[in-house]
């Protein structure tokens, strides 16, 4: 019983939690090898065979989904196509500079279709736009956190100057003492690193 108690107490130590968690997860991933896994081929937003469009020398490979600019929509198989009235239009749209690039070289399909219009825009902005809101919010929040820490703490240059002044003063004052101390002290500091 006391052993269990000790174990339970050890589990309450924050340092051990990530390790415990990763162990549990790793063990569970091994279970995944026993589970029958197969891809259901009836997916939404399917795409053609890899390299098929390149072999056909389509200048828009690998994101060519048909359609004509501002006229006919491209082919998109969405979950609820009734919720998105103009589905496929974005995929079929190309900005003027994209048309220019298309006429220059047949090997720039990716960049053509990641400029406004194109498949990813269709999915990211139109049919699943809410996901992208969240995604960019996550990025923004992490930047808020990081930049707040940077500005107020880890990179506070004003404080750095103040501190360096202080430490210089202290240094001049205690130059003798610090000379004596530094030997002991720095060795103790660096011992941990080795």
């Amino acid at each position: 019983m006391s052993k269990i108690g000790k174990l339970w107490n050890a589990l309450a130590n924050p340092d051990r939690i990530p390790k415990l968690y990763s162990l549990v997860l790793a063990a569970f991933l091994l279970v995944g090898f026993l589970v029958p896994i197969s891809l259901d081929t009836n997916q939404i937003y399917p795409r053609p065979v890899p390299q098929e469009q390149v072999d056909e020398e389509s200048p828009l490979a690998p994101y060519d989904r048909g359609g004509k600019v501002l006229k006919t929509p491209g082919i998109i198989k969405a979950q609820y196509s009734e919720n998105s009235k103009s589905i496929g239009m974005i995929t079929s749209y190309m900005s003027p500079q994209a048309i220019l690039v298309q006429s220059i070289s047949p090997y720039f399909g990716t960049s053509i279709y990641s400029s406004p219009g194109g498949l990813i825009d269709e999915v990211l902005y139109y049919s699943r736009g809410f996901d992208t809101i969240l995604e960019s919010t996550i990025l923004m929040m992490s930047f808020v956190i990081a930049s707040w820490l940077v500005v107020n703490f880890t990179m506070n240059t004003r404080r750095a100057e103040k501190d360096s002044k202080n430490s210089k003063k202290a240094n001049i004052k205690n130059i003798n003492i610090s000379k004596n101390i530094s030997k002991i002290d720095s060795s103790s500091l660096n011992k941990e690193e080795e």
Partner: protein
Amino acid sequence: MFFYTGCILAILGSIATVVGPGVKDPIVRTFNTEVAAIGLSLIFLVYNHTLALMTFIAATAVTTLILLRVITRLEEIGADA
């Protein structure tokens, strides 16, 4: 073909990251994750996820930057973390 090369690279890279030679040095470890990243890039390429691949390349560069910053910073302040 490239798919399996990608798999090999990813597995090799991750093994090396965990128990490779000299991984006590965090910089070495960061380098080794790069191998796995290239393996992943290959897989993206095979699936024709080229946009994701482009973003991944950019994001990897930034992630590496951040990691290296942490490493140097910690080394600088002599932290034992």
